[in-house]
């Protein structure tokens, strides 16, 4: 079900344009990693609002729980202890990142999806999965540069954060934003969030984090979930956040160049056969030898 109040920019596997007369504001969620205390209230709010309940896990020696995203966990906190000489002079830093869908402006999942309308990109920037159209092929998993979508083993459909598109459609902020006790997660227009981030980056720089910056990777056209990082020069420190994410060349070839090449190849084979037949004509074995044999007998 497409939310009618959020017009559609792109629809998976749809060769013609989606309805897009209306012009909603482009939104963004800003996650200020430097303010996050790792309380996981966002995880709980997400699971409450979306009525998701992941299995109770077990302690694996770190705070990560659940340990990975799943169809029942659309956001998870990733905890990393970093102690590197070239990062803050080698003192221990506890870097916590709320992981989940980045809502790319150029979504790899949508590009890879073969099922019309299973993935929708609203004009406000939200990338939403419509599971009723999902066929469970997992192409979105391969298309995503951030390793976010997860297939639910129970129904073989793909799930991920939808930035609470249902809440945003009625003018509310996502559940994780509403619940965050430190204000580490903020929500608003993308422009406003960039301004807020700029102020935070200036502040962090004044406090010694020279490489502080905004994570809004242009390789995927920018994202609608952005991070303020104290070490924006090294996003990998935050549980391997990719430094320069982009849709994989393999996926681009598969979903791009291969299509016209294939169309030409198949059409050429078919047309060649047709025109060959109507010009050269069928290749018949004449019966002359058999006739001769008859004579010599």
């Amino acid at each position: 079900m497409a939310l009618q109040s959020l017009d559609i920019l792109r629809r998976s596997a749809s060769p013609t344009a989606a309805p897009q007369a209306r012009n909603p504001l482009e939104v963004a969620k800003l996650i200020d990693v430097s303010v996050c205390i790792g309380c996981k209230a966002c995880q709980v709010a997400c699971s409450e609002w979306n009525e998701l309940r992941d299995d109770v896990g077990s302690c694996v020696g770190v705070y990560d729980n659940p340990t990975d995203l799943s169809a029942q966990a659309w956001t998870v906190m990733r905890f990393n202890e970093v102690e590197q000489p070239d990062v803050s002079g080698g003192k221990l830093e506890w870097l916590i990142r709320k992981d989940g869908c980045m809502h790319c402006a150029d979504p790899g999942c949508l590009k890879a999806c073969p099922s019309p309308g299973a993935i929708i990109q609203y004009k406000n920037g939200i990338v939403d999965f419509h599971q009723e159209n999902c066929i469970g092929c997992g192409y979105c998993v391969s298309g995503c540069p951030f390793n976010v979508p997860r297939i639910n083993p129970k129904d073989n459909k793909a799930y991920k954060c939808n930035l609470c598109s249902d809440r945003v459609a009625v003018g509310q902020e996502p559940a994780c934003v509403k619940t965050c006790p430190t204000g580490a997660i903020q929500f608003g227009s993308k422009e406003d969030m960039q301004e807020v981030a700029a102020k935070r980056v200036t502040d962090l720089k004044s406090r010694g984090y020279d490489n502080a910056g905004l994570y809004d990777p242009q390789g995927v056209g920018g994202t609608h979930v952005m991070y303020v990082l104290h070490h924006a020069d090294k996003p990998e420190l935050y549980n391997n956040l990719p430094k320069d994410p982009a849709i994989s060349t393999t996926v681009s070839l598969w979903k791009g160049l291969l299509k016209p090449v294939a169309t030409l190849g198949i059409a050429a084979a078919g047309l060649f056969g047709f025109f060959h037949y109507i010009t050269v004509g069928p290749n018949r074995a004449e019966d002359e030898h058999e006739a001769e044999e008859e004579v010599t007998k």
Binding site: S12, A13, S14, P15, P114, S115, P116, N133, C134, I135, G136, C137, G138, Y139, V141, S142, N147, I151, P153, N156, S248, T250, V251, L253, W254, L258, K259, V261, A262, G265, I266, A268, A269, G270, F272, G273, H276, Y277, V280, G281, P282, N283, R284, A285, E286, D287, H289, E290, E294
Partner: protein
């Protein structure tokens, strides 16, 4: 006079061929549906889109097993010789309907087709298993699955184009379809298109 016939394919070989052919048609239709968004409706060949996604790989395995049987039947008939190279180089002449060289059971084009099919089938099986959800894909890293998806689509398209040529060749050279339906060809057919094979089968001069 009564037609003189030679047995070219026995019943087991014919059944084997048509199992592969029917699987191929179903796979090509559903595969093209996944490849071309505008033809997604072709998933209807298996009922619903999700059913098509679920059934496609199983049909693929059936096709591969049946094709493997064909491979072991025919590989030794498809070793390329200098006569075949001559045929391939003179393909223009062949296209005009003129025979080139002293052809045995298969000509250079048929042998080339055989090995293209073998290559495509092998690539399709390997890449298909790697990308197969929910059973196998989770054991492979995402970058490898991406390569598998590209290879699967590309080799499928090469196979589809090749099969179009394969089917056309059988239609063009009249009397060929009969070999795979009734199992027989006429002496005239064999003498014209496969003179060496004709001599081997009948002991007659071609």
């Amino acid at each position: 006079m009564k037609e003189q016939l030679i047995q070219r394919y026995n019943a087991a070989e014919r059944i084997n061929h048509w199992v592969v052919a029917v699987c191929f048609i179903l796979l090509a239709i559903s595969g093209l549906a996944f490849f071309y968004p505008a033809f997604f409706w072709l998933t209807g060949v298996f009922g619903t889109p999700q059913l098509a996604r679920i059934v496609h790989p199983f049909v693929g395995v059936v096709m591969f097993i049946a094709f493997a049987r064909q491979f072991f039947r025919y590989w030794h008939h498809n070793l390329v010789t200098s006569e075949d190279v001559k045929w391939m180089k003179s393909v223009k002449e062949v296209m005009k309907g003129n025979e080139v060289g002293d052809i045995g059971r298969y000509n250079g084009g048929q042998k080339g087709m055989f090995w293209v099919m073998v290559g495509c089938m092998a690539l399709l099986l390997i890449s298909g298993v790697i990308a197969w959800r929910p059973y196998f894909a989770l054991y492979f890293p995402i970058p490898l699955i991406r390569v598998a998806l590209l290879v699967h689509a590309a080799s499928a398209l090469v196979l589809i184009a090749s099969i179009i040529v394969h089917v056309y060749a059988a239609l063009w050279v009249q009397g060929t379809i009969r070999a795979m339906v009734e199992g027989v060809v006429t002496h005239a057919w064999a003498r014209k298109h496969h003179p060496k094979w004709f001599r081997e089968m009948t002991g007659k001069e071609s």
